[in-house]
Symmetry: C2
Subunit: 196 residues, 2 copies
């Protein structure tokens, strides 16, 4: 049952079309958002027939969920020997994701559908947040080993606070500073608590 079954007769599904569909989905999601994008538009952008999409997915939710899940994002754990520069690298990486149109629309999708449907939040958490949360924990472990921070610090919690302020700054732009500047200032404050 677990063998690779390529034995079915008939024309196989085109991997090119499949890839084009996923890419078109991500492009349109970033450009117009979840609600404003139609299956028709995705098919047109991908250069495939609508039938080809409906043969693979039951609807937009399933398609978008798969498209987001298909994005492989490798997380590099920085190790410069100093916590400060390690964190800089992580922030830079996080900023690239959260500040992108795709990131914004994904987050909006998660929030707006959170009450009825948490599948997007689940995927986003598993694919994006969790790996970075763990990378962050590694960085903090090394910092603890170098006695840069308190050994009892909850890395997950610190990560969540960091992510929270990034998200908040993304939405409201509370000051006239740049996003990066503001986030960095918040982290300075936060790490006064960490270094006691």
């Amino acid at each position: 049952m677990n063998e690779i079954n390529k034995r079915s007769p008939g024309r196989p599904r085109s991997p090119q079309s499949h890839q084009a569909i996923l890419q078109a989905t991500l492009d349109l999601l970033a450009e117009v958002g979840f609600d404003a994008m139609s299956i028709d538009a995705i098919a047109a952008r991908a250069g495939v027939g609508k039938t080809t999409i409906y043969r693979r997915y039951s609807g937009k939710e399933e398609l978008v969920a798969d498209a987001i899940e298909s994005l492989r994002q490798d997380v590099v754990i920085p190790d410069t020997g100093q916590m400060g520069s390690d964190l800089d690298a992580l922030i830079e990486n996080a900023a690239q994701i959260m500040l992108s149109p795709l990131g914004r629309q994904t987050v909006a999708m998660i929030i707006s559908s959170a009450s009825n449907n948490s599948q997007f939040a689940q995927i986003y958490w598993t694919k994006y947040m969790q790996p970075r949360r763990q990378a962050f924990a590694v960085v903090l472990e090394r910092a603890k080993a170098r006695s840069e921070i308190r050994p009892d610090l909850d890395a997950g919690l610190v990560f969540d606070i960091m992510s929270g302020i990034m998200l908040f700054a993304l939405i409201f732009q509370p000051t006239s500073e740049s996003w990066e500047e503001y986030v960095r200032r918040a982290l300075n404050l936060l790490f006064k608590a960490a270094s006691i």
Copy 2:
């Protein structure tokens, strides 16, 4: 030019209908979200004709913006004599807003439209965040006067970090704790930095 002009002839616009429209808009926004709600549905729920809505607003954006703006939310500045209990009161108040369906959908709306249109973010910031941010600053000023926290602490920044973690916890529910418990734990960590 600034006098109250009730002198125009003809039947005046019904304040009852106006109020019903705003209320129906907020109800539907909370229930189904911005994109899924139609002007037809709003008119039906409000018990008015579609014409009556189009006579007042050019479209959904304008209507929703006005509806959100119409919500008067008084902020009480707690003054228990202890910063801890003051903060508890503020958190409780913030939680009621952010955890409500209306709050969720509003935030989702802000994020998803942020790139093309920042009017929702502007309104939400001015009407909800800004007053609370200032109330928070007052509470912290009193705490500084009692030497409970460092005198150079940036109250706005602390507020933003607080709001950020609340938002983050709302979206992702990172642990199995309750939302309130988790937020409280994050604030404990944060205020270790404040009390140096």
